[in-house]
Every structure is written in C-alpha cells, then in structure tokens.
Amino acid sequence: MRRIFQKIYEIGIVTEPVARDAEYERLGRELKRRVDERFRGSLAIRQVDAGSCNACELEIQALNNPYYDLERFGLHFVASPRHADLLLATGPVSRHMEEALRRTHAAMPEPRWVIAAGDCAAGRGEFVCGYACAGAVSAVLPVDLEIPGCPPTPLQLLQGLLVLMNA
C-alpha cells in the first residue's frame, strides 16, 4: 500500500494541464460548457464497433486514460443504449453488424445523436464497397457528424464531439 501511495504521489496528476496540450484543454472546456447547457452536465455515449479493425476502439478507450480523462468534461461511456444520448459508431458497418447497430440505435431514447467515427464509418476507409460491408454508418442510420481519421486520434474525437455540441 505504501508503494501505491508513493507512486501516486510521485506521478502526481498527469491529466493535461492547459500549458501542455492547450488545444485539448480549450476544446474540452468548451465542450463541457455545451454539455452543461444542453445535457445538464452529463452526456452519455454508447460506442458500437460495426466492423472496425479495433484501432478506433483503442483510441476511443484512450479518451479515458489519465491524460485525456474525458469524464471531467461531463462525457462518459455507458453500457446500455437505454442510458445513451449519443451513439458513437465505428467501422464500415459489416453486414453482420448491421442489424445490431440498428437495434442499438432504436433502443436509445430520443433525442439521440449519431457520430460516425473514423474513415471507415464515414465511408472513406479501406473497406468500402465490399460485399460484406454496407459501406458507411450513414448507409444504415441518420448520421449527425463524421469524424475523420484512421483511426481518429483522441484529440480528433474530442474536436468532433465539440462540433456536434455546437451544431
């Protein structure tokens, strides 16, 4: 236990302070303001992998690491679509995930938003037009915003979330 506390003390808080990643912090603060206004301080995200290569998931997970700590802005990931305001979908929508994606969306209460995260989800990736893919999230669901990147970096994901809040 002593070593755990010692490590925590040594490392301190690494969550990006303004000076180190000003862009992330500035975006984050703005995002928080919008979330406070429009979602009473709490926006719940349900993420669905609809045929991603797993890279998008790794970067979305990174939003929860101590450097980005997305939750401090009032955004958090939830397990149940019933609790979600926002569907964050990745992948070119493999036909085998198509219906699961639709049902996840249908299970979300209104009002609800959909972000297609990553080049595949936006219909620009390596997997468009194959027999096994619908080609883009917008081929299956109404999409409010696309976030580019292969995969999008945590910063790009945050920028995208902010754009949606400002829309």
Binding site: R3, I4, K7, I8, I11, V14, Q47, V48, D49, A50, G51, S52, C53, N54, A55, C56, E57, L58, E59, I60, Q61, A62, N64, N65, P66, Y67, F77, A79, G91, P92, S94, R95, H96, M97, E98, E99, A100, R102, R103, T104, G125, E126, F127, C129, G130, Y131, A132, C133, A134, A139, V140, C150, P151, T153
Partner: protein
Amino acid sequence: MSQSRFTWLPKLLSRLAKSRLALSECPDAPRPALAYGVQAEDWGRLPVYLQEQGCRFAGLWAEVRDGRLAVLACVEKQGDYLVFETEVPIAKPELGSWSPVYPGANRLERHARDLLGLVFLNSPDARRWTRHQAWGEDEHPLRKDFPAEGHGSAPTPADAGYPFERVEGEAVYEIPVGPVHAGIIEPGHFRFHALGETVLNLEARLGYVHKGIEKLAEGRDGAGLLRLAARVSGDSAVAHAWAAAQALERTSGAEVPERGLMLRALLAERERIANHLGDIGAICNDVGFSFAHMQFGRLRELWLRRNAALFGHRLLFDTLVPGGVARNLDKDGVLALLADCRALRKEVTSLFPVLRDSQSLRDRLMGAGVLAKDQAQRLGCLGFVARASGIDYDLRRDHGYAPYERLSLEHPLHQAGDVAARVLQRAEEIYASLGAIRQLLDRLPHGPIAVSLKPPEPGTRGLGLVDGWRGEILSYVRFGEGGRVSRYFPRDPSWFNWPALEVLIHGNIVPDFPVCNKSINGSYAGVDL
C-alpha cells in the same frame, strides 16, 4: 537459410512413403516453406502422420485455380514450415478433414467452406462459422463468379438459427452475451451455460466484423496490400503489414536493406510493448485494481505519443512499405527512443512489484483461467498464451528471420498457464523487447531504408512469417497479372488462441470471464477478416 534446416524432413517423407502416401514436390513453393502436392483422397489421412512426427498445425486456406479449388495446409517443426496442397474439382469440392487430428484446423476449415464452398468430410463440427446472413449457403464470396461488391444494398438481417451446443439439466441456465458488449471493445457473441456461478460451457460465435478482406485484397498492388494488411487487426498493424511485406518481397526477390529491416523490428517491438502495457492495465482493471489501469494507461499513452512524433502515427499504421519502411529515424530520434526505453524500464520496475505483492490481485489472478500445457499444445496456441503455459516457441528465435537472428533476445517462459502467468509473461516480454530495441538502436546501420520492387511474376507466391505481439502471424500471398494480388490469406494467431478461452473458462465463475477473456485478448477483426 542455414544448413541445419529441415533436418527432420527425410524421416517424415520416408514415413509417408511407407504409408503409400504419394507426394510431389512443388517447384513453386511459397518461400520460405517447402511445398508438396498430395492426392485429394489422401488429404484426410495425411495429418495423422504429421502429428505422429511432431509437426504443429499452423494454418489452412484455399484458393481458386483454373476452375478447381486448391486447399493448402501448413505445418511447422523446429522452426521450419511445410505446405501441403491438393486440388478438388469445383463441381465436387470434397475432401477429408484435418480437424479430428488438429482441432485448431476446425474454424479454418469452416471459414474455407463458407467462403469457397469446400466440404470437409467427417469433420467433428461442420457448422457455418464466418457466414451469418449476408450471403446464402450456396454462395461463396471468394469464388470468381461472386461479385466483389455483393448483391446490392438490401438490409441484412441479424444472424439467426445458429445451432449452439446445449447443456441440459436441472438449474442449468444460459447467458447470451453480445455481439454488442458493455465496454469499448470489438463485437462477438458468447454463449454461456452455467450452474450457479460456475461456467459449465462457453461457446464463442464470431464473424460479426467480417469485412471481406480476402476479396478486397484481390487486384491490389504491393502498397495497397500493405495498407490493407495494417488494418487486418488494428492493434497489430506492424506485424500484419510485415508478414504481407515478407510474402511480397520473397516473391519479387527483393532484399530489404539492413536499416529498413532493423527499423521494422524496432516498430514491431514498440507495437508489442504498447499492447502489453495496455492489456496489463486492462486485466488489472477487470478485477477492480484501477491503480494499475491508470498507471499502465499513462505509460501506453506516452509510448503512443512518441510513435506519433517519430513515425507519424500513434498505432504505427502504414509505417511499412514494400521494400522497407516509410520513414527514417534521425540521431535525435534514436536518442529519444533510448531515453524512452530507460524511462519505461524504470517505471515498470517500480510498478510490477506492486502488482506482484497485491494480495487482492493475487487472489483474483492466480489459479484463474488455467490453460494446461497439453491443452495449449492440442489447440496449437501461440505467442504469450502458449508461452505462459510452458510452450517454448518463439518465431524470432526458432524460425529466425531477419534481423532477429542477429540479436540476442531474452525468452521468458512460464508454466502455470493461469491469468497471473499470462500477465507475468507479458511483463517479462516488455523487458525482452526493451532489450531488443536497445540492440537495434545501438547497431542501426547507415544506408537506405527501402528498395524499390519489381512486380512479382504472375502465379508466384510467398509466405510471410512474423512474430506479432499475439504470436506467429502466417500470411500467404499469390500474385496474378501485373504483379496484382490474386490471393491474400493472413492467419492471425487468434485463430488458435480463441478456442483456448472456451477450454480455460471451464469451472471458473461467470464474473471471472472478463478477466479470463482479456488475458487471452484474441482479435475479433483478425479472425473475422
């Protein structure tokens, strides 16, 4: 290739000859393997002798050749690889199954059936695997008459009617999980049968992220192939791209310059460390030890940021190109990477004892999800999963590909086969990779980082064999007109590690499934293709 290669082959060949199993050596073997043609009627009994001679099953795939279906299977012994192949008419595509002898062949055979229509007779499990509802039972996407773009845009229904195994009995209940899981992870379905808290049976049903990668590879040039390969499993971008690049370069006869090879190995070891860091943290998080999750997440993030700064991509996508690597490393870069290695070594050396001494972590990880050595061997498990169960195979040493044969690598090994052993194994592999990176940076020669390739001749083919962080990746590439890919099959190690999960979960409690699953961390994308 050294002189001591294939020393075991004469004995195997004479054993096969004695069993009246006629072989013909293929002059166009996919290097570095040797290849032998087999009569289709002998296909089913071949694995009996291979197993008897101590060959490990390493892969099975098929391709269309002039209106016939060719089936290829690969085995390994002492780091050498043999490919056997046979052909069956497309009108009657039947042959014997290897699954009764090599259980690891089962899902690969089912995949070959779903995509090419092969029928493996006397298979113990002939259910569909990759196919859900996107195409019919009589259609085969990898056949030439199947349109690459598919059958239009009508909605595809959810999968239904898959005949799961059933466990009956008083108080036995079933838990269906997925394809959409609770966390930010890949989709798949797990079907549990439990009695109280105890798992009686687990069956995985994958295929949800099938994107048709094998079909999408057709017609690509070398650069396009490597871009696709990097996206087979996004956590193994370097390893899969490297395996595809090896197959390409062996086919076109290109020699990657020494500096390019060393940089590839550097990227591969950085990829291994990034994944090990993230997963060790995530395994601890699955049993509620968030301290480790935060600390290892922090170290992984720093590691990825360096990737972005020096190689242009956090997950090292598209850092490999045909003939070498895309980006050079300057002196400052070398110094930064060396400093990173020292810093990371110091960090993990202060963190691992905390993990080791945490009583609650020990309680949850030790004895959980035990995979015995003989089980791992039977399934053909690879990488850290195999090495944590006492199977001492490391492609970098035992097959020995450039530039690893010139490095002196540590090879950690564990015997317990439980979740704790897999964590320890990966912890020690971080040190081994740090040692490898150190040697690579110390010896990094001057010179070009890539050569230009001439397109491979039509009909030529090659194998790529790379030790990714999950273990051996085997990639087969055949080229057609104009040096364009006519067949690409990447066999991710997850084909053989996923089935281990169904075995090691027996007798564990349902709440331990997440940590057992994470301790294997099979790739969904890598096997769904």
